[in-house]
Symmetry: C2
Subunit: 510 residues, 2 copies
């Protein structure tokens, strides 16, 4: 076993395609190799591609020194793709290592998690890990329920503290506010106590990002007799983006906006006065906050998230756990057109298959095993996380339907496919084909949004390596490549969607 790990480590180091020639020598190999590493999977929400400071050319208005520290301590991936441009299906892809449209025929918002699809925590439990999820759980449409397959305790997590929905109010985490709210579950987001294993935990005060960190550090510091796998899924920087502690707002020179209060009797659209859905809907669109300020709220929210990630890293250092903890950091989809994020130079954002929707910030660190300051410029997929982690945990995977491969052995000729509602895309080598159509969901997009060259369902072909911004459609020039990619996409669908769908026709209910 030790020999296998040493070999694995060696191959990981060899595969480090470092751009930084000054990168420090690997240290502390012996301790790291002696046992299965702890694994921390940090999933954040709706972060812009340009807002990831470990990337060389990032938006300079962003201040995230801790995310930078995390990125620089390992390897950053400049072409990391998720399997969908919105939260729930993307997270299904991450946790299963599969394109979730294998079983989700509509390829839409709520693919859920069939019984026969195995998850990262299920594999890692099998490998002897203590598993916990803290934060957002957003799989399927069975929100707020703990007796469904999608609930973390039913797909491999020993512990769960968080919410099972698209979003949660950052401030309103108490039973008291829930009791006063006419529609605490009135939208796909919610307010009120967090779900905690088979019960709930109410927080009379406190800010959600801080709470999730406090609870995660508490988890990390518990004496575990097993290695741990912690998924820390922040809701930051999802809207409601303006909900940020005052000290961060002060830093970016924007004012506090009154939190939701049922007595305020604010109405919005068709939503009743004083309802949470009125408040939520108002602030989840661009408009209620002017577009300059929106970016500032976003930066403040992100800066607070960064401080929290810093606290997690500090706790790992203090306890010495950092020496044998592998950290994966990823955003569930590209920056949202509605939250003030910046995806430059990528087109579009969350909700569409343009690069801005599916190419995301990602980094992996593992002291002694991954050289610091390294960069992987070849394209990888979020589905690669599962096979990589299970390999590290010493498991041999036999499921041929897993779409991911080893993150540390990218394949430059690999086919990646996407299916999102009426749109689709495929990537192979430098080429990307897509019929992506603009989609910014609830309102006009923010000022940061880069609109696509055409807003229709026609086929577009891009040389993504040369033209990551998808400005130059080469479909007319390269009909043969269009045909090849179309055929490859169709072949993949024929081979995989039908088969998996058939397999899953009658999923057992949990």
């Amino acid at each position: 076993m030790k020999q296998i790990l040493i070999l694995l480590t060696f191959s990981l180091i060899l595969s480090c395609n470092s751009e930084n020639k000054k990168s420090k020598k690997l240290s502390d190999k012996s301790t790291a190799q002696s046992e299965k590493p702890n694994i921390l999977l940090i999933v954040i929400d709706d972060q812009g591609y340009a807002d990831f400071t470990p990337f060389e050319s990032h938006d300079k208005t962003v201040s995230t020194p801790n995310i930078q520290r995390l990125g620089k301590s390992g390897k950053v991936f400049t072409q990391a793709y998720v399997t969908a441009p919105v939260c729930s299906p993307s997270r299904a892809g991450i946790i299963t290592g599969k394109n979730q449209f294998r079983w989700d025929k509509p390829a839409s918002w709520g693919p859920g998690l069939p019984d026969d699809v195995k998850t990262i925590p299920e594999y890692l439990k099998q490998a002897g890990y203590n598993t916990a999820r803290i934060g957002k759980n957003d799989l399927g449409q069975n929100f707020h329920k703990n007796d469904v397959r999608e609930y973390p305790l039913n797909h491999g997590y020993d512990e769960f503290l968080g919410f099972s929905a698209h979003a949660h109010d950052y401030w309103a985490n108490s039973q008291s506010i829930k009791a006063r709210t006419p529609d605490p579950y009135g939208t796909s987001a919610l307010l009120g106590p967090l779900m905690h294993n088979m019960g709930e935990k109410s927080y009379e005060d406190g800010y959600l990002t801080n709470i999730l960190t406090d609870e995660s550090i508490d988890y990390l510091k518990r004496k575990h007799n097993k290695p741990f796998f912690l998924t820390l899924a922040y809701s930051s920087v999802h809207h409601l983006i303006h909900e940020v502690p005052k000290k961060y707002l002060d830093k970016y020179n924007v004012k506090e906006i009154a939190n939701y209060d049922p007595d305020s009797l604010v109405a919005y659209g068709n939503h009743k006065k004083g309802s949470y859905s009125a408040y939520y809907d108002k602030y989840s669109r661009v408009g209620a906050i002017n577009t300059d300020d929106l970016r500032k709220y976003y930066l403040a929210n992100l800066n607070c998230l960064d401080d929290n990630i810093g606290r997690v890293l500090d706790a790992l250092n203090e306890t010495g756990l950092d020496k044998n903890t592998l950290i994966v950091f990823i955003s569930d989809n590209g920056g949202s057109p509605l939250n003030g994020s910046n995806n430059a130079p990528l087109t579009g954002g969350k909700y569409s298959l343009w690069e801005g929707g599916i190419r995301v910030p990602m980094a992996v660190s593992w002291p002694g095993n991954i050289a610091p300051n390294s960069t992987e410029n070849r394209y990888v997929s979020a589905t690669d996380i599962l096979p990589t982690l299970t390999k590290v945990a010493g498991l041999t995977i036999t499921d041929n339907n897993i779409d991911g491969i080893d993150l540390f052995e990218p394949n430059e000729e690999r086919l990646l496919v996407w299916k999102w509602q009426k749109t689709w895309a495929a990537r192979k080598g430098k080429w990307k084909i897509t019929n992506a159509k603009e989609n910014h969901w609830k309102s006009e997009p923010s000022a940061q949004y880069i609109a696509p060259i055409r807003d229709d369902l026609t086929i577009k072909l891009f040389d993504i390596e040369a033209d990551p911004g998808e400005r130059n459609d080469l479909s007319a020039k390269h009909p043969k490549i269009v045909k090849e990619l179309q055929d490859a996409y169709n072949a993949w669908c024929d081979a995989n969607i039908a088969r998996e769908t058939k397999q899953n026709k009658d999923p057992k209910k949990h």
Copy 2:
């Protein structure tokens, strides 16, 4: 077993010396009797005797509807004595059922917990309980340490979350503030993360009373396969009394006072600029806040505590646990001369053996077993809690050194003794003898304080039933009773202090 419990229940009901003839019939006996009850011991800090609203004649400026609800749901004790007029020794008395000066020769601040003294949680664990302590742990002088006998995990608690010291800042519960503070443990109070089992838990934001409640409710809602014993020890209403969430301050029309901040460079007395001890010392005396406002801060702090106790009661109701949960509520000593509390009609307060220091708010509720709206006017002791709870848990106690008796069978001719530094007291029947001398510790007392009739160490004798305020010294009139009580006190000390001290000469270290 069932028969014994039915008998016990019957005797408890018979012993209910109810003053309220309209009290409802006992309901739900069968469920309550079928299994060992859960036990919730709520210990609060420095509450005034007059500020306990379940008492018929309480200070009408106090608003504590939830404490009232708790008191009215069971039995209130108008003459409940603790074993010392300050926190640490009083808590040692509660948790051991013994006068802590049995082993603490100086009879002073930090009696600690010798190895051979058994605690309530140790007994209840033996009876099959899941045990947890949340909040203040204040036994001995080994503050902030988890490898000492006094640490909750070392005297019978399965879980602990809180602080091991006299007090904790209400607002500063995070690692961030601790890291910036030159003297986080600079006083007997502290700031920073709470101790959590063998580690720490940091709270980036939140108010201590709210946090302790949130965590307690989370504990209560966990599915236990055993009955639970939870000690919920709030630090409220200990100074720093002014630290209260704004909505409560608004209610009492007092302003927010800036929280401790190391950068503020506030100095006080000999304490360095920016030190926590400077801030703590300043606000733990009367003077920094004018005496009218002090009462308002106290009322606000108490009102917030009351809301929190309401949340705990609501959680018990929601889960149905209330039907089989016995609740004991007690303050660790009388109202402090320094926090704005009101002990009327009692003389003195915390820090002295006048009634105001040792007679405390206390109530016990147990649906189906204790008639609601009942009052016990006979005197009882906090040492009675241990024998009462262990009896309820089905244990037979053989330790003859336990000073407590069954709370529900008060003995009107029982001898109670106190030893506090250079002072002592004894109570037997209606008589109380004491050489109590005034003591208000750090500064002049607040406006609410009732000064004693004489400020010296001479012997005073009171008919406490007729003169609870200790205004009429009858020692000259009843020399025979003085002699009898002196002899009784000396006999108790000869019989018990020497013996226990000998037993504990060489306590093993944990």
